[in-house]
Assembly symmetry: C2
């Protein structure tokens, strides 16, 4: 008998109708003879509503109390889902983090899971109950409620799959798998039956937004197979695992784009050692996530540094750099939010020369100007004008998948 | 340094403005040099909203899952209040039942508290933190969430006051104390500075609705002084304790009324032993709370039984009795919801003859007809037409307090 961990996000449990749709997916899995452990997020806008309530009272509330408040969202979800599954006539039990020993560190609002004590979980599964676990939350060693931050419920699901040695961890979303490109941009994008953890990590980072990186990294570390599936269709999804059968020998797995970025250019920095260190340690201390960095020599013993950050951090970055203008000693700062990053990802490109060249060729033929280029072992990213992004994804996809 | 337990109900924390009003009451108590432990109910309509959500999904949801759902209401309250107190600049921590070892039995939705493990509470109080505890909830020995049922948060507060050996347990409500009669009915009703537990118990049972009986009984068992205060005015409230200084030597403490009752009359029962037993064990098995009972001999070897129940249970009672008509062997059933109970309560009446007579005299002079009479050591209750109830309270109050 297999043990399957399933995770459903907030939009999948947003109202009574959707809760019953999910309940039927769960009971169908149970009827097929599996042990089922399910992780749920908070319903629809619950978390946002709770954050708004807190902001009205104290915008600078401690993270400890925010976690205490937000954890209620997932607790309500699992209780309501349990009621729906009871209604369908199945044995079920809902559990919070503190009831299953989901132990985390004490970094409130961004806690990391340390251990899961499976005793209660095993006990309930042995009783042939469907077990519902509140995602996103944990308990630290002081017995305080913590939350896991972004991608929290996915991470809960993978952690449970590891602890329970599940045969698969199914992540249900509103898309039915990982595609070679965003189907809204490229109508003939194909669904991938399989993809490696590393490819999934690159795609997640590059804005494919199917799975959160953190859960993929965790799954990779412990070799837990992930499956991305739709909670709306019954179709098989995409398996994420260590090695895939690349029968079709395509060199790349997918084309991704990210429009939520900004490019910052610092012109006329002193050309002395330690300049890059000072700039980027300043940003790192404020937890700004810098992506691509290019440094070039400018005129008269000066140099320029260009880099990209999430668009939401752009204006804070400008402030930070302006405040430290004297210490950093630069001439001019330029921020450009009219850019996008388009990338190809594929483990196959390691053994195949010329993949990048084929990508650039496609862009050249379409007269799309490349501002910056960044590569890793399994991806090639280009920065282009945001207005060109969708077109770029289409021509690159056509180049590799036609 | 005194330790004070304070409890605020759902209407006292219904919105941000009220939360801050309560936060200032709490911090003022803290500033006066006290250790403060505060119990909160769920905000305003939160519990009703959660019940409605559950009903939409499964009206017959298990009580175990209902408790899991409803406990969120109090958890959200304490987290939000903690944020308000943080905003005012005070050290504070919110805690749920499972974090303070609020151990109950396993009767979901009507659990009884067994023990409170004070370790965490003491630890937080020793750190000079204001401690906020989610009321109404507990944990059973399996580690499942329970709720305490009606009057739950009052009971949580009294249990904490007992466990922490608090000097007083202050129950904040929307009235500023216990009055000699409902001030909305009797404009010149007086606030009582003190009242005994027994008097408070009779008044609570009789519909004064200031404190729930269960918390008063618990406070009486352990001799914890209770104080009923208003969360809207800063006025001193009413102390509830074992012995009061009855300086004014009034025989009665207050006049109470209860309009939410129904009178059932069963006519023509067989006049043989065991009839009353069969009728009332039938009702007791369905957890119907029968109040006053009168039995009289009717005609031809038959007898009649008249009794009162909460109005909400009346139609269920009728069904139950009709279903068992053959077994119980009666002729006719009559239900009357147009009745009210008016009572006088006072420990002083034990040593003073003629108190009941003075009450009846007041009613006679006002030409109010008495249907039934019931007495205990410290109270006299009469059943009258509901339309006469307010007038009866006024004339009785005038008789004793003019």
């Amino acid at each position: 008998m297999a043990l399957i961990v399933q995770k459903f996000g907030g939009s999948s449990v947003a109202d009574a109708e959707r809760i019953f749709r999910v309940a039927r997916i769960i009971t169908k899995t149970y009827d097929a003879g599996n042990n089922v452990c399910v992780v749920l997020s908070a319903q629809g806008d619950t978390t946002d509503d709770l954050i708004a309530k807190a902001a009205e009272i104290n915008p600078d509330a401690s993270r400890r109390e925010m976690d205490m408040l937000l954890a209620c969202g997932e607790q309500m979800s699992v209780a309501l889902m349990a009621m729906a599954i009871e209604k369908l006539g199945y044995p079920v039990v809902s559990l919070c983090a503190w009831q299953i020993g989901m132990a985390t560190d004490s970094v409130h609002s961004a806690a990391r899971i340390r251990t899961v004590d499976c005793e209660r979980l095993r006990e309930e599964l042995d009783k042939k109950r469907i077990v519902l676990v509140a995602g996103f939350q944990g308990v630290n060693r002081h017995g305080d409620v913590t939350t896991l931050g972004r991608g929290g419920s996915d991470t809960t699901a993978v952690a449970l799959a590891i602890a329970l040695k599940a045969s698969v961890c199914q992540i249900f979303t509103d898309v039915d798998g990982v595609y070679t490109a965003d189907p809204r941009v490229v109508p003939d994008a194909r669904k991938l039956p399989e993809i490696t953890y590393d490819e999934m990590l690159e795609l997640a980072t590059l804005g494919a937004q199917v799975l959160h990186n953190r859960s993929v990294e965790l799954a990779k570390s412990y070799g837990v197979p992930l499956e991305v599936r739709s909670s709306f269709t019954g179709n098989p999804g995409t398996m994420v695992k260590e090695v895939v059968n690349d029968v079709e020998k395509t060199y790349i797995t997918g084309v991704a784009q990210d429009k939520k970025i900004a490019r910052l250019a610092i012109f006329g920095l002193a050309d002395v050692p330690g300049v890059a260190f000072r700039v980027f340690s300043l940003l790192a201390n404020s937890r700004i996530n810098v992506d691509m960095i290019i440094q070039s020599t400018g005129r008269e013993g000066r140099k320029d540094i260009v880099f990209t950050v999430p668009e939401k951090d752009a204006s804070f970055c400008r402030q930070l750099l302006e405040q430290n203008r004297t210490a950093l000693d630069f001439e001019r700062l330029e921020i450009n939010t009219d850019v996008a990053k388009v990338s190809i990802v594929g483990a196959g490109m390691q053994e195949n020369a010329g993949v990048a060249a084929r990508m650039f060729e496609a862009l050249f033929q379409e007269q799309i100007n490349i501002h910056m280029i960044s590569t890793s072992e399994i991806k090639v990213s280009v920065f282009i004008d945001r207005a060109d992004a969708d077109r770029a994804v289409r021509v690159i996809h056509e180049q590799f998948f036609r």
